[in-house]
Subunit: 219 residues, 2 copies
């Protein structure tokens, strides 16, 4: 997969420049996206025989797996504010507490949404991350979604980078990064990516809710 | 109809206290909501015989009519930023430029979204209004939606005040008002409100895009 477009707010740029933990988070996410391939090809190639012909879950799953298995990110982290106090809103897709000295006081907490819903759902993702930042549960937020030319061959109405772009003005004041990914290659003859529900969930080993049950499964 | 719940950000409260145009806007919106009735009853009564049994358009339409016909609001106002520059994002549902002395330099511009979509759509509405405020096309933003107990008897998954409430923290920094309305009465025997697409559109006399064609149809 390639990173075709990206937006880094001024605060996000400053964090990446000055905070090694922010840089580490950014690098891990970028590496996980770049590592998405369609075996046996050593890169990501997508069927472009027809509009909306591929599912998006087979793209998301290997990215999650890499982040969980290699970099020890957690999946489905509820914001305490939304869940303990208010019992509302879904969890953050991906979450990791970075710490340079193993000192929890110095944690740098990053939340990532991998958007596979429609444009309205992308707005909810942005607002969920904004809540996390506002109540200081997150120090950096990232949103990952396909660019328009790729989304044309994915599930109907999946949000794309370009349609969200006019709204970047409202995240410019936050530590926020948006990444638009694209296939390395398009071909009308490679296999379709299957559609359907999240195939990864059952295999996931690092759901946040399991965390307290396995205290040694640390960061 | 009654106004059962409302949220006014600190800035919105200050505006209403100190700016007569903001107070006028707020009063016009409240009056339009309160004036929604189900004739022949002199109040709003809704069928509660079954979950999701009523449409929401018959609630929205008389509110729009009142605001257009009596208070000269416009419908479907595109934000110049989203449309002239970027060609993205739908228009604002209701819009009016308030002016005390007929001086356009002193305009106080208000944008209102009457939310009849799901919760993700409500987040998009919030973000659209946030764009309007950020680029100073709007001085005050309002979002109108049913409270939870009423939404139970409206179209499936229509957003309600309570499910959005945890997110008010992210509009606390904006001149923003959220109004949650409720029926005056519930009854299992009154007629159902029909579902379906926006029945009002064809009757609307004050679409924003028609404005320049009829310059005398002023504010």
């Amino acid at each position: 997969m390639i990173i075709a477009k990206q937006f880094l707010s001024p605060t996000a740029q400053e964090l990446i420049r000055e905070n090694p933990l922010a840089l580490q988070a950014y690098n891990e996410i970028c590496e996980a996206i770049l590592s998405i391939i369609t075996p046996p090809y050593p890169y990501f190639i997508i069927n472009n025989s027809e509009k909306n012909c591929n599912g998006v879950t087979p793209i998301k799953d290997p990215c999650y797996e890499k982040l969980e298995n290699r970099y020890l990110w957690y999946r489905d982290k509820p914001l305490a504010y939304l869940h303990e106090d208010m019992k509302k809103g879904g969890p953050i897709n991906l979450y990791k507490e970075f710490s340079e000295y193993g000192d929890s006081e110095e944690n740098f907490n990053v939340g990532v949404e991998f958007e596979t819903g429609n444009i309205a759902s992308a707005h909810r993702s942005i607002n969920k991350l904004r809540v996390g930042i506002t109540i200081k549960e997150l120090d950096l937020a990232m949103l990952i979604l396909p660019i328009k030319s790729l989304s044309f061959y994915l599930t109907d109405r999946v949000a794309n980078y370009e349609e969200l772009e006019p709204y970047f003005i409202i995240i410019n004041d936050l530590p926020f990064i948006v990444i638009g990914f694209d296939a390395d290659e398009y071909s009308p003859v490679v296999p379709l990516l299957p559609k359907g529900r999240d195939g990864m969930s059952k295999r996931s080993v690092r759901k946040w809710y399991k965390k307290d049950k396995r205290p040694m499964d640390g960061f």
